[in-house]
Amino acid sequence: MRSIRIGSGAGYSGDRIEPAVELAEKGDIDYLVFECLGERTVALAQQARMKNPDAGYDPLLEDRMRAVLPVCASKGIKIVTNMGAANPLAAARRTAEIAKSLGLPSLRIAAVIGDDVLDACKDGDLPIMEFDGTIRQLGNRLLSANAYLGAGPMADALHAGADIVITGRASDPALFLAPMIHAFGWAMDDWNLLGQGTVAGHLLECAGQITGGYFADPGYKDIPDLARLGFPIGEVGADGSLVITKVAGSGGAVTAQTCKEQLLYEVHDPAKYLQPDVVADFSQVRVEEIAPDRVRVSGGRGTRRTDTLKVSVGYVDSYIGEGQISYAGPGALARGRLALDIVRERLKLTGVQSSELRFDLIGVDSLHGAEVSARANEPYEIRVRVAGRTESLREAVRIGNEVETLYTNGPAAGGGVTKSARDVVAVASVLLPRDLAKPSVRFVEA
């Protein structure tokens, strides 16, 4: 039976680069996938593109491509990535320039375009899923609307001979499903194969999270050599059989436990994992260690895809202002609480306009709130944090300022103030009738 080996070279936009080089050099892989597009990254990239039409793709595109292109070209490893962000065509052109500068002019580079569905969403004035309102009601706060495309266009690009496929918004598992569809000729209505392929893609898409990252807990879940964490490889057979492994000698571990945790990561109903190409069913999946760092994962299934595509809508939500200050030693907690009381009163006295405020004691209750944290002991040092949501940057700045003035006006021995104010680009979702998205593939010459 035919099989392919797919390496996962990045689990988010800022991820480590050398594990991908290690995969390409020593992983005996056929495909290298980089998943680099977070929920709101496209919206931020769209802002960059509005300022410069040649911008709007992943800021690390150049570093990643320069690092892996020579070895990928020499070994015939194909690359699939969503580093196109808000501008896949510009990313493809830039990659072509890089390939040329590295003496690799024969690489065939394809961009998948058409995930930008802003106009279709506006035309339909689609309702927003997370809150009451429609697309048009966002007015000039609306930045972007990008559909989660499926694997089809990427598989088409591979079929047409692409060595490198660069897409914008696509479902993360679809980046991995595309090579399987291309290599094995899976039918786009073979729901069980697409479901099992989605299991593979889902397990691989966060890279180090299945090889021991986001996992280690000393004394309970020990993982060797996290500083040299190896990224995962999926060995996929034409029948959907799957083994997760990694490069021999790299850091980390692939175990039944790491695979089970990642299987449920960001999953709601495991029997209905909605994807553009299939409704995947993870509920019957089995996980089995067959050798050190080799785990067999089977039992993924699927049912017919839905008639809509999820669209990620980026918009300017608000502004957030924040300030922090530290206290230590005897009485640190009491001084921290006093500091919070002072800032709370000052924000009222000075009339800072905010719709939501948050008062944290980092080291005490900032992560899980006062109730969950109530049984904890008093720490040696604590950090006061005040954050607030405002309608303007100017108001946001005032929040951090009220923390800063604690230096000379607040409790004893407060130090290490930091403050910030920023605009908040948030994302919401709409469902777009599938046929209104019209993805296509464009080749760019190196």
Binding site: K260, L264, D269, D360
Partner: protein, 105 residues
């Protein structure tokens, strides 16, 4: 009594304003304990002040795991939250504090 941490491991994921936490038995024989004692109601009570929506539990006997989906939990959504841990990635550690009655094991 033992802490949940002694018999299970856990990971948090996020989507919008919803957090999900997996709870997976280290050993299959402990899965019935998880099923009986780590209920949606208990998880919701444990996260008092954190979860403002509902807690729905899904069972995965093949991997001896449970998946808890908690709505209205992430400060209005990961991309707009005022929280330090906007993703709620640290929540799984709080759940592992649950007390489990292991009498008879």
């Amino acid at each position: 009594m033992v802490k949940l941490r002694e018999i299970a491991h856990s990971r948090t994921g996020d989507k919008g304003n919803t957090s999900n936490i997996s709870v997976i038995a280290y050993e299959e024989k402990h899965y019935p304990l998880l099923k009986a004692q780590v209920t949606s109601e208990r998880v919701k009570a444990h996260f008092s002040g954190v979860v403002e929506g509902e807690v729905v539990r899904y069972e995965l006997p093949n991997i001896a795991g449970l998946n808890f989906v908690m709505t209205q939990t992430l400060g209005g959504g990961v991309t707009r939250s005022l929280a330090l841990d906007a993703h709620g990635k640290s929540l799984s550690s709080a759940l592992l504090e649950l007390e489990i009655d292991d009498t008879g094991l």
